[in-house]
Structures are given as structure tokens and as C-alpha cells.
Symmetry: C6
Subunit: 214 residues, 6 copies
């Protein structure tokens, strides 16, 4: 059944919530990646009946973000001082596959930077550890689902361009497509400079002394 409501992905007041596009045997669907932080010791929790490939996708997204923390203006101590939870409703529906990679990456980038996510934007694409975006399947069905839901901007892998060309133009009207090769482009497109209201002021334990270099 259709359990999501339009208002949801038009609301970007909460950090860490990003709209993805899934493809199941019965067609395309909107899904949400939710990421949240709480004071802790750096534990990662994944929930929403995620399969093994999707869990690896999340770990890959997190590793990419951590390795690029400096460039994104993220204090690396946040990774050890806050627990990260990634949840994908609905909780009882099994989900798998690598196509939520860029969506997960965007959700955790938003929650760690506390930057707002662009409105009415959806995305689908696999990521690799070096940040490359890779093409995924079910593009036509995903676009139809996005349209039904009022989405106006979709981020796809550049290599999915040929899938767009095979779709009748009437289906594409009203949506702006952003074709990308690298997750840096995804973040630039998806995250606003503006912070969310009530953004977290991260605080850290001060136990470690750092020194040396090479």
C-alpha cells in the first residue's frame, strides 16, 4: 500500500532525510533514507530490514564521507563521539541492492553537516569507495513514481543517460535531471548551504592527545 504522503519530502526542516527511488516487482516507489545522530561512541546502526548489499552500500557511503571529512568541513571527532543510525521505512518491508548508495551518502552528509536537503529532490545511483557514481536499473519506473509524488529534480548517474533517451518525452516533462559522475556533484546539488533550524552543536570528549605526522 501507499503509506507515504507528499508533504513529507517537501519538508526539509529535519536534517538527514533524503528521498530515494526504489524499483520492485510491482513498479517504482519513493523511499526515504533517514539518518540521525545521538551522543555516543561512534556506533553505526542500520535498520529497516536491509539486505547485505544495501548494508555494504551504507558502510561504503560512511567510509567515503569519513575519508573526505576535512573537505566537507566535518570535524572528524564527530565520528567517535556520536552514534549514527540509518533507518529506511517501512520497517517491515525487506530492501536490498546498491542503488540507494548516493541517497544514503546524502543523508549522512546532511546529518553530519546539519545542512538542509534541497526540496522535491529524489535520486538513485550506486556509489563506490572513491566516490564514483554508477548506473542502476529501473529508471523508467522510478521516474514515474517520482512524478506521481511531485518530485521536480532527479539525480542520476551520467551512464543512465541512455535510459532517459529511451523514455517518451512526455514522461520526463516537469522534471529536471541532473546527470553526475561523482558524489561530489551529488552533495553540491542536494545539500543547501543553509543549516537546519535547531542544528546540533557538536561537543566532544577530550581524552586524546594528538601529535606527530609523517
Amino acid at each position: 500500500g501507499e503509506v507515504f504522503d507528499k508533504e513529507l519530502y517537501q519538508d526539509n526542516s529535519v536534517p538527514g532525510v533524503v528521498t530515494g527511488l526504489a524499483w520492485t516487482s510491482v513498479g517504482g516507489e519513493i523511499l526515504f533514507i533517514e539518518a540521525s545522530l545521538s551522543k555516543g561512541k561512534g556506533k553505526l546502526t542500520l535498520s529497516g530490514q536491509l539486505g547485505e548489499v544495501m548494508k555494504e552500500s551504507a558502510m561504503t557511503a560512511l567510509s567515503y564521507l569519513r575519508s573526505k571529512a576535512d573537505k566537507l568541513g566535518i570535524d572528524h571527532r564527530v565520528f567517535d563521539n556520536y552514534d549514527l543510525h540509518i533507518h529506511v521505512p517501512a520497517g517491515a518491508v525487506p530492501k536490498d541492492g546498491p542503488s540507494a548508495g548516493i541517497t544514503i551518502l546524502t543523508a549522512i552528509a546532511s546529518v553530519y553537516t546539519q545542512r538542509k536537503v534541497r526540496n522535491r529532490l529524489a535520486m538513485t545511483g550506486e556509489i563506490t569507495l572513491r566516490g564514483k557514481v554508477m548506473p542502476v536499473g529501473g529508471i523508467k519506473e522510478k521516474i514515474l513514481a517520482a512524478k506521481r509524488a511531485g518530485i521536480t529534480d532527479i539525480i542520476l548517474c551520467n551512464k543512465n543517460r541512455k535510459d532517459l533517451e529511451e523514455i517518451d518525452d512526455s514522461y520526463l516533462k516537469g522534471i529536471t535531471f541532473h546527470l553526475v559522475d561523482h558524489v561530489q556533484e551529488v552533495i553540491q546539488l542536494a545539500l543547501l548551504d543553509e543549516l537546519v533550524d535547531d542544528s546540533i552543536s557538536f561537543t566532544f570528549d577530550n581524552q586524546r592527545v594528538t601529535s606527530g605526522d609523517c
Copy 2:
């Protein structure tokens, strides 16, 4: 068999005990979510033969609560200095599904704030990590079970409104329905301002020095 007694959910002297509504092949049923804290290191224990989806529901509820600790007046050190146990009697009956989400959330909110739970109140609904309440099934059967048990107030997801409309009014008499979209509403409805008698005075280890921000 019917192993629960009415007196139980009319007694809110114990924190962390909240009445839920379950739906099995043989009809609706009352169930209790029990949460308790003991001095420890932040370990989470789940018992009562809970399935994987229900465990994830509990983790999602806990993450939501931890990320909103400040707003709920919970000192975040309590999460590291006390162990949390969530149990769902009867111990030998397998249980699963996401519909106890708001019930679990309310139970742990009560035990961490030591606030009393409202009398004769039951609830059913899935939660997501950002606090959204989602609709669940078996509404009619659950309401019948609640009535038999003397419940006077039921919290449901706003999107379950259509299920109510399909039920004959005679069944709904005597129960006040609270339709909600967000768990903040659930907490406001379910938790009294009054603390339980003999409420815990939380104490903390003082080992960490906090500093810095971003």
C-alpha cells in the same frame, strides 16, 4: 489463553510500562511493553521472543529518544550510565512487526524521564527515525480487544483514520481516539507531568571531560 488482568493497565505507579495493541490470527490482543533501567554501561537488552522487525523498531525508538534527549529534559549521560531492558510478556509467545513502535517509544520515554503513563490508554503505530508515526493493520480487532480490556483512550496514526470510518460506530463508543502524525504528540498525550513515586535519582560516573564544539 487470557493471561492479563485489568488491574494491570490501570496501574501507572510503575514507570516504563505501556499498553499496546497486537493483532494475531485469532484476533486483537492487549500487550504490555515493559522498560526498566539499572545502573550499568548503556547496554540494551530485548526479551520476550521478539522478531527482527520488532527489535529494529525498538532500536529506532531508542535512537529517536537519544537524539531528542535535550528536548525531553533527559541528561544524555543516563544512556551510558544505565542499562536499558525492554521486555514484552508473555515470555514464550513469539512477537514481531513494527506496530509496537510508538508503544516502545513511550515506554522508554517514561522510564528515562520517570514520568507516569496516562491511565487506561493504549496505542498502536509504527515509528520512523525522524519521529513520523505510520499506519498499521488490524485496527478493528485491536479496538475490540481494547474495549474488552476497559481501555478508554487509544492513540492511532492519522493515516488510520479511514480504518476508523469503516467500523460501525457502536464499536467505537466509549473510547476517545487520538490521531497523530508525530511521536511528539504521542509523548505529550501519553506521559503525565507527574513523576512516579520512588522515581530514580540518576547518578553518573564522572570520567569524561567534554570540550570543544563546531
Copy 3:
């Protein structure tokens, strides 16, 4: 085969040993819950081929006890400074179910308080996390086994009263039944004020500094 001997449960010189009542396909049986402590770091070990439900029962009993440590006069540091082992002989016989709940609770209450367990007493009943005692099955068979073994007092859940009424009075003669609703009653009935001989003097590591409250 019958491997237990009468003298055993007439001997309460050892703390942490409590007589329970089990119900198998071949009738009722006496069993013993053994709990012991040794200097350690708070590890819990369960042995005796216990099934998942029985293990959860033990964890629930322990959580209840820990959350009520103050009321029972137990210094909470004992939970972190001693390892707890719960064993149920015979070691090769698989056991499961929630009905040993109050027996396990009594065994660990005895070992943490070093109080003697009442002589010739047996018990059966599920516990919940808030300390409620719940009814269990096989009452008739369990009573017969207790009689054969020389038991004079049996603790049951109040809700098992109807099972007693269905048993011919001749079977009940010579046994005093204690019907309870809450584990506080169980502890009061089962534990003597007197400490065992050679009771442990608990000692603690002194590493943590406690402070603050809320």
C-alpha cells in the same frame, strides 16, 4: 532416570540454590536452579542446555533484581565486580520455557544477598520485568512431583488458583500453597533473614568516581 536425592533441597547452607518444578512429557519433576558468584567484571554465564525463552527469563530476572538493588540492600557495585553463573542440572538435559522465572529470580536474590533459602520450598511461575508473577501450566503434575520429593511449601501465581481447585484435595494435603502476584512476595517468602555460613564479603574495585544527579 531419577538423579536427584532428597537431602539436597533440605540443605540450605549453600546460597543461590532454589528448587523449581518442571513439567515434561513424562510428568512433573523437581529441578534446581544454581547461582554462583566469583570475582570478575559482571559477566553472566548460563549453562545446562537452556533454551532461548529460559535464557530470556534469566536476563529478565537479573534486570529486575538490578533495578531493585537498593530496596534489597544490594550494593550495585557487586554487579560489575562479580561474575554471575546460573546453571540448571542435569547438564545434558535440554530445558526451556518461562516457568522457572521466579525460581531463577530467587536464586540470584539469594546469592547477591547471601541470605539462606527456606527449607523444603519449591516454586513455579513466570516473571515479567516489572516484577509481576504470571501463571504457568502443568500445575497438577508439578505438585505430585513436589510431594514425592518431600516438599512442604509451594509458591504459585495467584492466577493458578483455579488449577488448584481442579485437583482432588487428597493430592494437596501436607503442602502449604502460597499464591502470589508479585516477586516481592516471592522473595519475602523464600529468603530467610539469616545469612548463610561463610557468606561472601563483597569487595570492589575503586576506579570510578560518581557525581551529579538530575
Copy 4:
């Protein structure tokens, strides 16, 4: 095949090696429990393709010993500062059951006290956590195996006395039977006061400060 040699169990120069009696589909057999300690952090390793019941037996034996450390003159710090390994050759032969309980207990008592094990002694019997010795099966076959191997003393549970009475006296000649109820008797019979040559001088890390009592 017969892979053990007589000289072995006539040599008690090594601590922690005790002769047990096993019973398989093809008759009785001698087996050896080997226990060794090495500087570490209190890790327990079990090897020799041991089944779940036998592993629980070992944990029960260890818990008993730890809880009685004072009485046996064992400095409790040794449990945290040395790793314990229990191995049962032959390494490729699966073994299970509770009957090696007292043999394992004796092996680890020897290695922690560095006391010699009595010569030409074998034993078989289950232990419980409070130190009770329980009867086991296959007594006749085990005795025959012990005789073939030159054993002169066998420790059995008192409740196995009836098994002895059913065996023709000619089979029992030349062996002294020690019937026991409690593991304290086993230790007294099996361990000599004399330490092994080259006994370990235990040393401890000195990080913890102990204080308080109750």
C-alpha cells in the same frame, strides 16, 4: 585406534593433566583432560572438538573453582592475569556429554594450584555449580578400559554405587573405588600437596585498587 600409551598417565610431572573415562559406541576409553595457563587477560579456550554440553561442563567447573578460590588457596588475580586453555586429545575426535565434569575440574584445580595429580588415578562424573557430583553412565565399560590401561584408583559418584554392585567382582579386582558426593572430596583425593617441579610463580598486573565491602 589406540593412540594413548601407558607411560602417559603414570607421569604426573606436568600440572593440569588428568585421566578421564569415556564411553562410546565401541566401549570404554581412557581420555586425558589437559589444562594449561599462559600470561594473558583471563581468556578461556576450549579445543578438541568438544560439544556444547561438554563446553558448558568446563564453564561450570571453572565457575565453581573461581567461586572457591579462597578456600583452595588460589589468588583470584590469577584468573584475570592468565589465559586458560583446556584441550582434550585426540584433536579430530568429537566429544560431548557432562561426564568429564570432575575430570575437568581436577585438571584446572591442578593447573591453578600447581599441585601434582595422583598417579594411576582416573575418574568420571558430572558436576553441578554448587559442587555436587552426579552419576553418569557406562560405568562397566569405563572400568574395563581403566583396567586395561593400568589404572589403580577410580573416583565415581556415590550414586553410581549400584552400577558397581551389578558388575562381577572379578572385573573390580585390583582397583580401589572412591565414591564421592562432592567435588571437595575429588580434589582432596586427586591432588597431592606436593607442587610440580618447575611450578609457575604467578605474577600480576597491579592496575586495580580494591576497597569497600558490604
Copy 5:
């Protein structure tokens, strides 16, 4: 489908990305090993649906590198202060076998030294813990895949020389083969002296005091 693009393995601006050669039921294929580091505590993460043998290959490569850290000019503190992630796209495709051993070794050597990987180079070969390179199968198919992809240099085990001799010369034209016995040769061939742009300046926690020797 063909999801890789040529430009990728001609770009060595990113450290830790090395081109391997895989052999599946449908022929040879190019694959990429991606390794990345982020500030952490030395955790190893493997992703990309790797089978058990391939995971062991990665652990063997890492152990080799760690044991030779001094010779490669790697400060050993980097292993405890940075987390290593190894990912092999595409994320949903299961992969197994030992033949990526030298490719993984090269990827992690690059990321720990921040040295550039040689352009248009591919490799295939098992490694052992002492650094020996062992021959692998599917050489002909792998070479064809490399040619299609524009590879100009291939590293193989010396013992795969006979496989080359069985291939028609026309297939080998345009590719330089480097036959090696030891991973030291692989590293010398594959890693340039030049560091990548924006190379990481490793920093370390300073908690440990080192002393003594033997």
C-alpha cells in the same frame, strides 16, 4: 553489462585504486580494488559481496604489508589510527577466489604510502603471507579483457609464463607482461615514487609509551 569506463583506470590521481583482472563463466573482466583510509582505530571493513577466500586474501595482504611496514616507509602507528576500507564494485556482484591478492596488496600499499599507481596497468595473482606470488587461472580471458579496456601493462606470476606461451601472439601484441615471483616486485612495478595530489598527512594519538627490546 559493461559498467566500467576507460577513463577510470587511466586516472591515478586517487590513491588506493588498482585495476585487477577477473575470470567469470562469461569471460574475463576488468575490476577495481578500492582502498580508503579514515581517522579511526584500525578497523578493517571489506565490502562488495566478497567471498570467504577473497576476504582471507585481503587479510593476508594486510598482514604482509603490516609486517613489512618499516621497509616500505610506513609509520606503523597508521594501522592503529586509521580505519581501512576495501571495496570492490559493483556492489551487488558476488566475487571470490584468491586471484585478486596482488591487486589488493597494491591498493593498500598505495593508500598507506599515498604513492600514485602506474597508469594503464592491470594485474592478477595470489599472494602468500611471506610475499610469494602464485599463479592463477583464466589468463587468456583476462588478457583479452585487459586489451579491450586499453591496458598496456600486465603483472602476472612467473609460473603463469606457460599460459602466455599457449596464447597466439596476436593477442599479446601491445601489452607488456611483467612476470614476478614476489610482491616486492609487484610494488616496485606498480607504485610510482610520486605522491598523489592532496596526499593525507597522517596524524596519531600519542597515548602509548614504547620501551624495551629483546
Copy 6:
């Protein structure tokens, strides 16, 4: 296929590499046990698709070595300050059984002492925790494999002497057999006094203060 080359086991410049003898359905085979150390915290890694019995063999060998560290001149701090990896090529071939016990023991004794392993030596035999060497099967096939490979010395368990007597003398010519009862003999035969070139100078963290004894 035959993937090993003669030169390998004639080269003892690398510590921790020892030649073993395996017996498969297709005859005897040479195999290598590789052990390596890297600065760490005492982690043990086993790879090469080892079965459960072979892993237990490795743990038994390591426990024996640790418990005899003083006698072998090994500073016990090395076990906590270095990670040990044991690998058995070829990486994709499953291996199991206890017969590599003495080979593994010799490999780790070499790597912890940095002593050279004797040239052209192979061995096969199970070990027990007290250091006893036990006989193994497939002796004839193993000897043939050793001869083909240029081995000149073989260590066997004394109890395998009868297997030698059943082999035609022509097969034994050119090989010296060393029949042993205890691993001390194995170490004495297999390890040279000479250290390897570039032997590791072990260094230790200095965090622990040791005191007391018994």
C-alpha cells in the same frame, strides 16, 4: 595442479615458514605453514580455508608456546604487542585435520624467536596441549611426496615407527627420519640457533606495572 616450487623450502631466510606433509584423496602433498608477526595487540588471524580441527590445532600450538615462553627465551610481552597471522597456501584449497600440529608449532616458534628453520626438513604429527606428539595417518604417501620434493629430513611421531616398517626400504632411502615423542624434540631438531637476517627487534608498550607473586 602442482603450484609449489622446490626452491621455496630450501630457502630458510624467512622466519616462520615450515614445510608440512598433507594427505589427500589423490596422494601425499607438500604444504607450507606461514607465520608472520606485525606490531599490534595480540590478535590471532588464521587463513587458507582451514577447517575447525586445524584451527584448534593452531590454537593449541600457540597456547603451548605461550605457556613455555620463558624456556624458549621469548619475552611474554611479545604476545600482547604483536599480531600473529598463520596462513596456509593455496588460499582457495580447504584444509583440515590435526596432523599439521607440529608444523604450525614450529612455524610460530620460529617467528617468535626469529630463529632459522632447518633446510630440506618436513614434518607431520598432531600435538597436544602438554606438548606430546601424536601419530597421524598417510605416512607412506607423505614420504613419497617429500622425496619428490627433495626433502632430506622428516620428523614423525615415535608411534608412527610401525608405519615406516611397513614401507619398502627403497622408498625410505635418502631421507633421515627423526622419531619424536615431545615437541621439545621437534623444536630442537627444526630450529637453528642462528637468527634470520633482518630479524625483528621486538619493542613493547610500557603501560603495565607488574608486581606480587604467590
